[in-house]
């Protein structure tokens, strides 16, 4: 089955820390892969625990399908499956960009860090400190050998004012080249931490609003599905 780990567990692997109680994966919603996912779900003795039903059309529309495992050893663990995420390209692209980790003899395919950061730009308060930690951790791990691609990733995604100012001052050309994409870099380049904080907050607010807008029709659909699900059968 082709799927990528995302959510809190992926955050832990990259260097943030989230006490996540579920396993979130993104997967390709083609017939063959969903057949394999169905087999995996059965192996985990996982029951679907909420709407929508486990159907391709809901995954393709951007919904998440939620399961709870009953297999001893994985008992109680929630599994949330998505195949479309706001701001991210098709699964095939995500798959090509994935990170693969090996731990305890197991291979784990994880959403790439830049993709995980985009996936975390949601309407929820708790996701924003996570983005800060994810990019900070990457900076702490790679500052000694950062190439232009890495520096540009930091300039696009850092949310820690002091580090952003540091990167902007040490890489002025890269910073200048991204000003049109992220105007708040002008405050980083000028070393103005106060203005940068305000601009970062505005940037976050705009993303949160965009996420609410993206989810509005999906939430209506979920509410409709819940009503149908709860309606007593005649």
């Amino acid at each position: 089955m082709r799927s990528l780990l995302m959510g809190g567990q992926a955050c832990v692997l990259y260097g943030a820390a989230e006490f996540s109680r579920d396993t979130d994966i993104v997967t390709v919603a083609d017939a063959e892969n969903l057949r394999r996912l169905q087999a995996a779900v059965e192996e985990l003795r996982a029951d679907r625990i909420a709407v929508p039903p486990f159907e391709r059309r809901f995954l393709e529309a951007g919904h998440a399908v939620h399961f709870r495992c009953q297999l001893p050893g994985a008992e109680g663990i929630r599994l949330d499956v998505m195949s479309k995420i706001r701001g991210l390209p098709d699964f095939t692209v995500l798959w090509d960009r994935r990170t693969t980790l090996e731990t305890a003899g197991e291979t784990i395919d994880v959403l790439s860090l830049p993709d995980l950061v985009v996936a975390k730009k949601t309407q929820r308060d708790k996701d924003w400190p996570m983005i800060t930690r994810l990019v900070e951790a990457h900076y702490a791990q790679h500052f000694a050998a950062a190439d232009e691609k890495v520096i540009k990733f930091w300039l696009r995604e850092l949310r820690s004012p002091a580090i952003l100012i540091d990167v902007a001052s040490s890489s002025p050309k890269a910073c200048q080249s991204l000003l049109h994409e992220r105007p708040l870099l002008q405050h980083a380049a000028a070393g103005s931490e106060e203005l940068l904080r305000v601009a970062l907050r505005e940037e976050e607010d705009a993303e949160r609003e965009a996420d609410r807008h993206y989810w509005a029709p999906l939430k209506s659909e979920l509410e409709q599905l819940r009503r149908e699900h709860r309606r007593p059968r005649e």
């Binding site: 820390a17 006490f19 998440a64 939620h66 731990t103 308060d125 900070e136």
Partner: protein, 76 residues
Amino acid sequence: MIDMRLLVGEEWAEWYSMTPAQRLEESSKLWQTYLELGGTLDPEPDPQSPFYDPEEWRAFTAHGRAGVRLVRRGGI
């Protein structure tokens, strides 16, 4: 280069410096402790999540939940 220990504190700087496998292991230890203390895998209510269903939470809390329970409340 910024000194990460000064910026984020010793604990975070140490966490950042671990390998993914080390973080996974440390995280697993925390989980084990949490579950041994009676913690539950049930999700926390998250009204900001697009998946949040208030009806589901009303039904859930009406039945109570296993796991950690308060036996003595300390003063403030």
